[in-house]
């Protein structure tokens, strides 16, 4: 049986696709056979971030509609043999996905994969609902910013009432906070919500903090998941996140301002 992880946020542009690509690669590199699915039908982007855009032949919708087999549609990652990508359709609209169709694909993947990572589209409508509906774990990607925190809370509400686990009265989805685009120096200056603030509001266990980092854009320019840039802070943050998710004990990093003295001078809490 596979473990199904949804990467979700409600709000758009907070780093879901960046995160999906990174953690899928991280899990695969740890030796776990992993599939990552782009649920953003009509706005496919995961293929670009994973650097496999020119190898897309069939997509998720083709599989759902029986126009291609899963085997034909899955793209084997060029960096890691344990990782496969199922791209979204670029031409169809999101109504092409149905609960039954998604369930069928997830069930088939579950037979051979250890982890299935679902990259959710933004919003709280059909695409986002289907991406989280079958999930066992949820990685809630949040930016330290009011609208993102509010939308994350909205998404948490939906997962606790409209997921399969909720509807069938099973153990609820395990939800984790991934606080992304964090700037410790701005937190010190009182310009940005701190990780404690966000945790207090959302009451979620923290899986990791991903710093605001220039290396993320460089990685996406090249089509290489950021986690493969082992020298970068964001890459290391994602490696920690994967390790923590797998049960390793890793102290949190990237929360403190490196300019310690400067920060103390301005006395954040």
């Amino acid at each position: 049986m596979a473990r199904i992880i949804v990467v979700t946020s409600g709000k758009g542009g907070v780093g879901k696709t960046t995160t999906s690509a990174a953690i899928a690669m991280g899990l695969a590199k740890k030796g776990h056979k992993t599939a990552v699915i782009d649920f953003d039908v009509g706005l496919r982007n995961l293929d670009l971030i994973m650097g496999c855009e020119r190898r897309v032949v069939y997509d998720f919708i083709n599989v759902v509609n029986g126009e291609a087999t899963l085997h034909q549609a899955l793209i084997k990652d060029k960096n890691c043999s344990q990782l496969y990508i199922l791209p979204a359709s670029q031409t169809r609209d999101k109504d092409a996905l149905s609960k039954e169709g998604v369930e069928k694909v997830l069930e088939e993947l579950s037979k051979t994969f250890k982890y299935i990572v679902c990259d959710s589209p933004a919003g709280i409508e059909k695409g986002a609902h289907l991406a989280m509906y079958f999930a066992d774990d949820a990685f809630v990607v949040t930016n330290p910013e009011v609208s993102s925190v509010r939308d994350s809370d909205r998404m948490l509400g939906l997962m606790s009432s409209k997921s399969r686990r909720a509807e069938q009265n099973q153990e609820p989805i395990k939800e984790y906070l991934l606080l992304s685009r964090y700037s410790p120096d701005r937190v010190k200056l009182g310009e940005m919500l701190s990780v404690e603030d966000v945790q207090e509001i959302l009451s979620l266990p923290l899986l990791g903090v991903i710093p605001e980092s220039k290396s993320v854009l460089n990685a996406s320019n090249a089509g290489i998941p950021i986690i493969l840039d082992e020298k970068s802070d964001a890459g290391q943050a994602y490696a920690d996140i994967v390790a923590r998710y797998l049960g390793e004990d890793k102290p949190h990093r990237f929360i403190e301002d490196k300019k310690g003295f400067f920060g103390k001078l301005f006395g954040g809490k």
Binding site: R154, L189, D197
Partner: protein, 91 residues
């Protein structure tokens, strides 16, 4: 004093403002999440009934839904105008 000056001079950081606003908003949204979806319509119809008898404002009605382990309660609060007790408004 402009809003910008306020941010500059005030000891409250914008981050703590954000936190305070979010705490209030999120608490409010969490309670309304569990409300039955007919609530706004109910509120509207109740208001129309009341208005047959008293000249109340749109915002003079307050509906609160609460839920605990044992029961669900609907609390209704209608503020009547001071001047026209019992008087039927022109329709």
């Amino acid at each position: 004093m402009s809003l910008l000056d306020y941010f500059k001079t005030s000891k409250t950081s914008t981050a703590s403002l954000a936190k305070e606003r979010l705490q209030i908003l999120v608490a409010h949204e969490r309670t309304s999440r569990h409300q039955p979806s007919y609530l706004p319509e109910l509120q509207d119809e109740l208001l129309n009934v009341v208005r047959k008898y008293a000249n109340v404002d749109q915002d003079a009605i307050f509906v609160n839904f609460e839920q605990d382990e044992h029961q669900e309660t609907l609390e209704l609060n209608i503020v009547l105008p001071e001047d026209n007790h019992g008087k039927k408004p022109k329709r």
